[in-house]
Amino acid sequence: MLNKVKISSRQFTILTTLFTIGSAILVVPSGIAALAKQDAWIAALAGLAAGVIIISMHILLAKQHPGKTLVEMLDTLLGKWLGRTVALVFIATLFLCGPSAVLNILSNFLTTQMMPETPIQSLNILFAVIVLMGVYLGIETFSRSAELIFPWIALLYIAFIVLVSFDVKPTNLLPVLENGMRPIWPAALSFVCTAFLPNIILLMIIPSVDNRRNEAGRALLIGGIIGSVVTIVIITITIMVFGPEFTARSMYPTYALARKISIGNFLQRLEAIMATIWFISLYFRMTIYMYAISIALAQIFNLKEYRPLVLPLGMLLVVMSVIVYPNITYQNSWDTRTWIPYTLVIGFILPLLMLCLSGFRNLNKQG
């Protein structure tokens, strides 16, 4: 069913970019500034370097198994039963901490900053309906809409950066490396875990990319780099405007940054417009998650169509998004204690093992 659908490598780059920006643009500056203070940008750059290596690993894996999704790769490498069990565990857990968590972050943001009296369920249902619509219509449709929306996002983002840059104080970045390199590493790790490791799920849709010119892998890499550079710029600007302490204390520093815009007392109060940036990036992150998860489940259970799965998954999504974190403090500690090891397992150790296995097989074949 997948082989029929094709998206261009440019569309795939855009999808990857939006997926990487995803929730990172909203939550990462605060977390990374709490760990690395004013050196957060160095940590993020270190994270970018590590991310390039990790993405290259994902690409290598995809190249060794052309035309196959992650589930099918596991199938060939581990055999039908073991492979599908691993895939099921992977997909089920990812469903909980991927799309459900993203939807939770979004509705938390909305109820904290914009609509405090609106019940979280109605926001979630409304957003989930659009996500499910995208998933149901298929990858070609939402790739095209991503391609259409992307220039606007880019425009808003650039406007955001330019308008905020009037308030920057570069001295907030000093002193560089005040506490040495030690606090950099955990911060870099948390950056990699939010911005790069979940990208393993993109291996579920990479067979749909038109790969006649061998560009799918490059799209994965470039999209990841653009997405994380966008995030790094936001991190740096936030710290330059607010200083590390306020950034770390702020729940949504990017939104606080948008509130800061005031040019000549008339170009101001743009935060709701700027929030469009992350509504759209969160939308695509969620849609890609849900699409990949539906496809994966369909393949695990040998279904011909993934579409019947979409609605039940969506219902689960709405329910899970409300109960996945009991409160925001739990979420913060979960982000640092559980998310990091979890993504390391699925985004780093799993592909590493798979690479070793396929290398081993190739050796066996040759021998």
């Binding site: 009296e117 609106t118 309906v129 005040e178 506490n179 302490e245 306020f246 509130r259």
Partner: protein, 401 residues
């Protein structure tokens, strides 16, 4: 059947999409707060909110006799409770997003303003773009009761007059919430806030009569900066010291100052641009600060005879005198802080931290007790006169006595 089912589904979906109206706040249901003030009364905070009456502001044709703003007050043990308690007197819900000024009472500032500010940073309705000031010699509530000419809304008057006095006169300073909180968290820089006082007759100032006359009975006036240690008010700087402070931090965007001539009279220079460099260094194990201030100005007024502005040497002399004078402001404020208050409002500690993070670590704990009062500060002021205005020599030179 399918048609009917899909119709019902569509209706359900449409109902969900009405959630957009859930948190709606229509303009006619809101009381838009433009100014807020906090006083302390016993154990309780007294919160006063200046709310706009949109009908009075919008009416171009004179309006009624009603005041364009109204004041609500409530007392409670915490700020948020006081804000909500206000609904007992206010007909509408107070909406804080358009707040311009937040006024803190002097007595409260001496006890500590930290507990008041947490609510402002936590509640989602507050932006960070309003200015925070401290009253000097009066209560915050009284300040919000004064009627102002020209600007109908007194809080707007305060907002614009603080902005323009920072730009053109320079002993005042706009401070927003995020800047203030950032200064609380830095070990090597203590916050300052601009002081606000009521001049004239406070009683008449509260009435509409205040703006019916050409000369108002009572005015709101900014006067100097308040130095804080942590969140507690330590003391006041006078105008010249406040100006010195702004020179040290490079915050002067424009100002005016005079120097005496050789004979009688004065030369006034208008400062159009300043740039300050503050550098921390460690000299023989002890911290030291270098400040260099670069100023550009124009001659703006001459009231002395026999001043030959066409000669380069005259200009050099005015430059020298101005440099001395500004250096005097700077030295006076540093001296006051080092000897009297022992509060590092200049960020000297931060300058050391930026330059020598390792050395700073050993100093930061007793920075203000031990290092700051003894800190040697080298001040270099460079004043450049660029233009003379629309005339060269003053006609006063030709005027016969």
């Amino acid at each position: 059947m399918i048609r009917r089912a899909s119709c019902i589904l569509l209706i359900l979906v449409l109902i969900v999409s009405l959630t957009g109206c859930w948190s709606r706040h229509e303009l006619n249901e809101l009381a838009i707060a433009v100014g807020a003030g906090v006083d302390k009364k016993g154990d309780k905070y007294r919160l006063s909110i200046q709310v706009v009456d949109p009908g009075e502001v919008a009416s171009k044709r004179g309006g009624t006799a009603a005041s364009p703003v109204t004041l609500f007050t409530a007392e409670a043990e915490t700020i948020f409770e006081a804000a909500r308690k206000m609904t007992r007197t206010a007909p509408r819900k107070i909406y804080f997003s358009h707040l311009r000024m937040f006024v803190i009472d002097e007595a409260l500032a001496k006890e500590g303003i930290g507990p008041v500010l947490d609510f402002l940073s936590r509640d989602h309705e507050f932006r960070t773009d309003f200015y925070i000031v401290v009253t000097k010699g009066s209560k915050a509530e009284e300040v919000l009761k004064i009627m102002t000419p020209l600007e109908d809304i007194p809080s707007n008057k305060l907002y614009f007059s603080l902005e323009s006095s920072e730009k053109n006169w320079s002993p005042s300073l706009t401070v927003t919430l995020d800047e203030l909180i950032q200064n609380f968290t830095l070990k090597g820089k203590q916050p300052v806030l601009t002081g606000l006082m009521i001049t004239g007759n406070k009683k008449l100032g509260k009435t509409k009569r205040n703006i019916e006359n050409i000369e108002t009975y009572s005015r709101l006036q900014y006067s100097g900066l308040a130095a804080f240690k942590g969140d507690k008010l330590q003391g006041w700087l006078n105008d010249n010291q406040s100006r010195g402070y702004n020179y040290i931090l490079g915050l002067v965007q424009g100002s005016v100052g005079h120097v005496p001539c050789d004979g009688e009279g004065k030369v006034v220079t208008e400062i159009i641009r300043t740039k300050t460099n503050m550098k921390g260094r460690i000299h023989q194990g002890q911290p030291a600060i270098d400040i260099s201030v670069n100023i550009e100005g124009n001659v703006a007024e001459v009231s002395c005879r026999d001043l030959d502005l066409t000669k380069q040497s005259t200009l050099t002399e005015i430059e020298k005198k101005s440099e001395q004078k500004i250096k005097g402001f700077i030295e006076s404020v540093i001296g006051k802080m080092q000897k009297e208050f022992k509060v590092d409002i200049f960020g000297f500690g931060e300058a050391i931290r930026r330059a020598h993070p390792a050395a700073w670590k050993s100093m930061k704990e007793d920075w203000e007790e031990r290092y700051f009062p003894e800190l040697p500060v080298t001040i270099k002021v460079d004043f450049k006169i660029r233009r003379l205005g629309t005339v060269s020599n003053s006609f006063l030179n030709e005027l016969e006595e």
